[in-house]
Amino acid sequence: MSERLRNVVTIGLLVVMATVLVVLVATSPTDTDRVQAIGERIKCPVCQGESIANSPSPMARDMMGLVAERVADGGSDEAIVDELLASYSGAVLLDPPARGWTLLLWIAPLVALGAGAGVILWWRRHPVEPAPVTASDEVTGRRRLVPLLVLVGAFAGIVVVAGFFLQERAGPATGAADLAGEELDDVSNETMEAVIAANLDDPEVDGMRLALAERYYQAGDYRSAFPHYLEVAESDDATESQAVAALIRLGWMAWDGNAEVDAAVGLFDQALAIDAGSATARYLKAQVLWCGAAAYEQAAGLFEAVLSDPELPEESRDLVEADLAAVNSGASCT
């Protein structure tokens, strides 16, 4: 090779290398290109099948803003996509990731293509000879039906299972509250307070109020129980039995908590005005009159009225009889 030719080749090589370099530099993705490319991989979460790069929605614009911010900070494409995946899961990718179960989506078409090509090749190499018509053709036809029926049966089964699956996913609200039917054993007092406060106009709220007040009452927390019993006692929506139960508790708390005899008796009387046969109201009124006002005669009369109730349980009868005997003997209340 002459020197001149060597020089020409050298210069030519340099020109080619320079051109390649220029092309590489010119075509290397800018930050804007990267943001656009990443945005085109991410599905807009508030749109139907649109990428955040192509959606005009404010949420998509905000997500593009985040991507641009991360690119400017030097984040890699995968790190940026992974950040969104950590928040939204794979549901935010327009193309499913080629890993895990979604790898099947990428592989399945290739497998189907390969299988189809295999079957065609096999058929070409093993052409089927037309079989002579025989008397057993009818039987063979029926036999051929079997796999078809199996296929149809399997398809029907799959559809039923898929339908069930879909129904489960699109099922009714799982957390809807039902004030009347909800099992309240595991529900805290705070939750009941919140439910009551949020449903003041619901006629069924009196039931929950009474249940909550009863919890406070049983725990000896009269201060918390009082307002709920009072609301039930004054509620137009409360049933008679709810109102009577609330008035009886209010009466007893007035006596037991504050030693207010007149207030307690007044509340028991209100309960008896609604339900004249309330043995509990009568019995507790007798207790208050006996213990708080030393009104022995009135108390004895009320105890006797309670005992006249044929439906009074035996264990209660024993208790009332003991109280009546004590009152009649002039004993002080214990």
Binding site: K43, P45, V46, C47, S57, P58, M59, D62, M63, G65, L66, L84, L85, A86, S87, Y88, S89, A91, V92, A108, A112, A115, V119, W122, W123, H126, V128, P147, V150, L151, A154, F155, I158, V159, A162, F165, L166, R169, A170, A173, T174, G175, A176, A177, L179, E182, D186, V187, S188, E190, T191, M192, E193, A194, V195, I196, A197, A198, N199
Partner: protein, 196 residues
């Protein structure tokens, strides 16, 4: 041999049908209903300004508390429906180490403030703006209302998609206080921004 290849054909057809049905079962399924990948993970941190402006408030400020993060907007009907329940829950649990954080989603602070003025507030709750939707994106919000529950350790342990009520909210908090992880609960539809 013919019979063998026929069965192979049937097998391939059956596999194709199964594949198609599995794919078809996903049509119409709201992607927002997938289980949040945040469940069981440390809650994404945020540092956001109150709607009224002023000093930012971060999730770190609420360390050791159960935090209920609710994304809302005045244009969201379900948010309006659940607002009284969120407020009463925040009030009821105020002295129980539970804080409600309501974050405005795709809405200007003045619009959110105007809405809260009418709908009411809990004195114990925090009402924050989310410039650029960074926190909504970090929590993977698809639509609103969405409500996240963060336990005392700072882990996301529950999520309600759709309208919630006081009983659902309270029962979820009760479960967290018992050390349980309530997980995801879909109570209804969510809404997108009107121009979204």
């Amino acid at each position: 041999m013919n019979r063998g290849i026929r069965w192979v054909g049937y097998g391939i057809a059956l596999a194709a049908v199964v594949f198609a049905v599995v794919l078809a079962s996903r049509f119409g399924t709201d992607p927002g209903l997938v289980d949040s990948p945040l469940l069981g993970q440390p809650a994404p941190m945020f540092e956001l300004p109150p709607l009224e402006g002023g000093e930012t408030i971060s999730l770190g400020d609420l360390e050791g508390e159960i935090v209920v993060v609710n994304f809302f907007a005045s244009w969201c009907l379900q948010c309006r429906n659940e607002h009284a329940d969120l407020t009463s829950t925040a009030d009821a649990f105020a002295d129980q180490g539970v804080t409600l954080v309501q974050i405005a989603y795709q809405e200007s602070p003045p619009a959110s403030l105007q809405y809260l003025e009418v709908a009411g507030r809990s004195p114990s709750a925090l009402y924050l703006a989310d410039p650029g939707s960074r926190t909504a994106i970090a929590y993977g919000v698809f639509g609103i209302p969405e409500t996240f529950f963060i336990d005392e350790e700072g882990t996301v342990v529950g999520k309600i998609i759709g309208e919630s009520d006081a009983l659902t909210l309270g029962a979820t908090i009760d479960a967290i206080k018992r050390g349980e992880s309530p997980g995801q609960n879909v109570t209804g539809d969510t809404q997108q921004a009107p121009d979204g």
